[in-house]
Symmetry: C2
Amino acid sequence: MQNPTISFELYKIFYHAAATLNFSKAAESMHVTQSAVSQAIKSLETQLGIPLFFRQGRSVSLTHEGEILFAHIEKAFHFIRSAEISMQNIKSLDEGTVFIGASDTITRYFLMDAIKAFHLAYPRVKLSINNRPSPRSVEKLKNGELDLAVINLLPDSDYEGLEGVSLTTLEHIFISSSPVSAVPVTLKTLSQHPLVCLERKSTTRRILEQFFATNEVIWEPAFEFGSFDVILEAVKASMGIGFVPRKIAAALIEAGELSEVTIKEPIPSIEIGIMVNKSKPLSLAAKKYLEILKNTGV
Amino acid sequence: MQNPTISFELYKIFYHAAATLNFSKAAESMHVTQSAVSQAIKSLETQLGIPLFFRQGRSVSLTHEGEILFAHIEKAFHFIRSAEISMQNIKSLDEGTVFIGASDTITRYFLMDAIKAFHLAYPRVKLSINNRPSPRSVEKLKNGELDLAVINLLPDSDYEGLEGVSLTTLEHIFISSSPVSAVPVTLKTLSQHPLVCLERKSTTRRILEQFFATNEVIWEPAFEFGSFDVILEAVKASMGIGFVPRKIAAALIEAGELSEVTIKEPIPSIEIGIMVNKSKPLSLAAKKYLEILKNTGV
DNA sequence: TAATGATATAAGTTTATCTAATCGTAAGTC
DNA sequence: GACTTACGATTAGATAAACTTATATCATTA
C-alpha cells in the first residue's frame, strides 16, 4: 500500500486547529469557514488512521497522538514561516545578497560610488564582491555563481549565454613624474624611456602589448607591478613612464604630481561592461544595484 | 494586500524539485507528471514574487533566493517526515504510550499479568500507569489524561461521560493466623477480636465500615495500615483478624499460613471495572491493552 | 427552557491541481 | 551537420480536492 502522500496543506490547517484548540477561531485566522477546518481535520485523521482530537461537547482537545503530531508539525510550521519571512524580506530589500564579480581595479575605480550608494539605500542587503580577473568573472557568471559582473569587454571573448551593456570606456594614458615634451611624441621615442607597467596577465598590460605590436615597436618593461597604486608610486619616484587608465591618474595629474605624456599614435581603449546571465533571473536587489550603477555617472 | 497564504503543498513540491534539481525525477518520486511540478513551481514563484530556479537548457539550478528558501523548507520537510514516521510507528505499535489509571492494589493484583503480556507483545509501547485512588483516576479519565482506568465501581459515583465494563468482582474475607471457629461466627462475635484493616480513605475500609453499619455492630479497628502487605504480616503475627480481598490472601491460605474466618452475614463485594472516556477515541495501543486485559483471566 | 457557542454533516459549487499532448531547446551522437 | 535524446514550458481539458452554504447536533450557560 504505497499511499498517495498527505497534502502538506492539511498540516497547516492542523497546526492552526491544534494551536488554538478551537476550529472556528482557526478557520477565521485562515480566512476560511469552520466547515473547511472540520473537514480538513477529519480528512487528516482518516488518512493517518489516527484520531488527533477528541471532541467533548463544544470543546476539542488533542489526543496523545495528536500532541505527538503537533510537537513535530509545530517545528515544521515555524521553519516554513521563517522561510516566508525571509522571502518577504528579500522582496522588501530588508535582506539578501547581491553577488558581483569585478576586478580589483574596476571595483575600486568604477563600482565604489555605487556600492556606497547601494549600502546607504539598502543597508540590510549584503554585497558580495568577488574580485577576480574578468575571464574568471565571466566563468562564474555563466555557471550562475554571480548575479552580475563588471568586466573588460574583449572582442575575442566568448560571452554566450550572457548579455550586458557597455558601461563606460576605459581610456589609457602614459604618465611621467614631469613633462616629457611639449608636443606629442612617437611611440618609438617613448620606448627609449624605462616603462613601468602592470603584470603580464592583466588587461591593461595586454592593451599595451597590443599597442606596441600594432605599431611594430620593440619594447620591454623596466618594471612590472601587481597594482596601479604601486605603479603610480614608482612613476612619482621617477622610475620611469607608466601606463595606466586615465581615470586612475586623473587626480594626481590634476594636482600636478604627475604629467600625461601625449603620444602621436592613438592609444586603444577598452570597453567596460556590465554582464548578466541571460537565463538567471535577476533578484530585485541585483536590479536595484544595476540601476544605481548605471546612474552613478562613472 | 493580505495575501491568501501559499499552500504548504507547494513547498512539498518545491522540496523535491530543489532536492533533485530535476523536475522530471521529482515528479516521478511524487507520482505525478512533470507538468504538474513545472506548474507548481511556477505558481510558487509567482506567489512569492521571486524566481527560485533558473533554467538553462535542460538543467535547472536554484537561484540564490531559491537556496535560501530551500534551506528553510528542507528543515520543515524533515520535521513533517519525522511526524509521519511517528504516526506510522504508532499505528504499527512500534511506539506510543498507553495511559492507565489504577490504584496500587488493583495494579498489583489485577493488572500485572496483562502488563507483562502487553510488554511482551509490544515492547516499544510504553505503559504509563498512574497509581491513584479510583476517584482520582475517574477525574483524570474525564479530563482526558488517561486512556483507561481500572477502578472500584461504586454505586453512588458520577461516571458521566465515561463508559466501561465490569472486569471482575472483588470478594472480601476475614482472615486470622489460626482457625477461629469450625462454624461461621456472627459479626458481633468477630467484633470482640482486635481488627486489622486498611486506612480510612480506602475502598476496602469503606466496604468494611458499611458492612458493620448495615448490621448495626459497633466496632473499632485495633490497627490501621496503608497496604495489604503490612496487614497480612500483622495477621500472621497474630495481632488480630484482618479484612482483605480474597485474592490477596488466597495464596497464604492455600499454604496454610492463614485461615479464613467465615461469617454468618453475607460480606458485600465490589465490582472492579474498566472505564474509558466516551468522547476520547482509544488509541490502537490502548485497544490492544484492553483486549489483553479482558483476556488475561483475572 | 431557551439561547449560545461550538463542531459535524450534506449537497452543491468553485477552484486548484493534474494529465495528455505538444512544443522548444540544449546537449550528445553518429 | 543532421539526428536523437533529455528535459522543461505551455495549453486545454478533465478530475479531484477544497470550500461554502445551510442545517443538524450537542453541551453549556442564562
